[in-house]
């Protein structure tokens, strides 16, 4: 339990600091690279929560595909590679106040409603049982039985988004 808490503390700290850098850095490419750090720490947090398939998908799709897409976007819009001074607009302070207010409200609500609720410990559960209950196989079974219709819908959505992106971005 203590080891898990230490791991959580390190990952949460890294994720928070990197996320702050994503929204404050003055270099667009650095923002994309800090985003990689955030996504990797969140992936490690999924491992802490015994969700290894989501962690793998997080690394593969987010870091492997989405960040590369972002780098392509940065390249194609010819952003300055290097420090840029006017990446933030004039509403920065209002935005900071909004964010802090939202954080205050969310913290209050979460502490109020979840308090000291513990995550159920997995220490007594054997590895085979854990894999059978919530491992990759169980997730795959759920996707192709209970959630089959949403899965098919999401495939069509992804196809539509792909076609839409090509139609939007191609030159006539």
């Amino acid at each position: 339990m203590i080891a898990q808490n230490i791991a959580f503390a390190i990952l949460a700290l890294v994720a928070t600091l990197a996320a702050l850098r994503v929204v404050t850095t003055r270099n667009v490419v650095h923002a994309a690279l800090y985003l990689v750090v955030v996504l990797a720490s969140v992936g490690a947090l999924y491992v802490l929560l015994a969700a290894e398939f989501v962690a793998a998908v997080q690394i593969l799709i987010y870091i492997g595909a989405i960040v590369v897409l972002f780098l392509f976007g940065i390249m194609l819009t010819r952003a300055t590679i290097g420090v840029e001074s006017d990446l933030d607009n004039d509403q920065r302070w209002i935005a900071a106040i909004t964010g802090l207010f939202l954080l205050g409200v969310l913290t209050f609500v979460l502490v109020e409603s979840f308090g000291d609720d513990q995550l159920p410990g997995l220490a007594g559960v054997s590895r085979e049982e854990l894999t059978a209950q919530r491992g990759t196989g169980a997730v795959g079974d759920a996707i192709f039985s209970t959630y089959l219709v949403p899965f098919e819908v999401i495939s069509v959505l992804l196809l539509a988004a792909l076609v839409g992106a090509i139609v939007l971005a191609r030159r006539d």
Binding site: A19, F53, V54, Q58, F70, A79, L87, L157, L168
Partner: protein, 102 residues
């Protein structure tokens, strides 16, 4: 581990993302902040699922996977739109895209 550890981390990432969406000028950076928000939601889905036992844990993971897919679709279309704005107005500065302003 407390449930609240994960939920509060999700809240922090969410608020940082909201700040980024409001404060950034560059369209690509706004899309990155939206990714932060979606990640916060995913942490919440997986953490809240694993509170309720194995069946809910699987449900939470499946929903997180769906959110990842939606995020991929969103980034694809979003970047195409940003690219189109860049091509038409040769800027990605969202403050200068004010055609709808009266």
């Amino acid at each position: 581990m407390l449930v609240n550890q994960f939920l509060l981390l999700g809240a922090v990432l969410f608020c940082i993302g909201v700040y980024g969406v409001l404060a950034r000028r560059n369209g690509v950076l706004v899309l990155m902040s939206i990714e932060l928000i979606l990640n916060a939601v995913n942490i919440n889905l997986v953490a809240l699922g694993s509170v309720q036992g194995p069946e809910a844990a699987v449900a939470g993971q499946v929903f997180a996977l769906f959110v990842v897919t939606i995020a991929a679709a969103e980034v694809g279309v979003g970047l195409a739109i940003v690219l189109l704005i860049y091509r038409n107005r040769s800027t990605v500065d969202l403050d200068e895209v004010d055609l709808m302003k009266g």
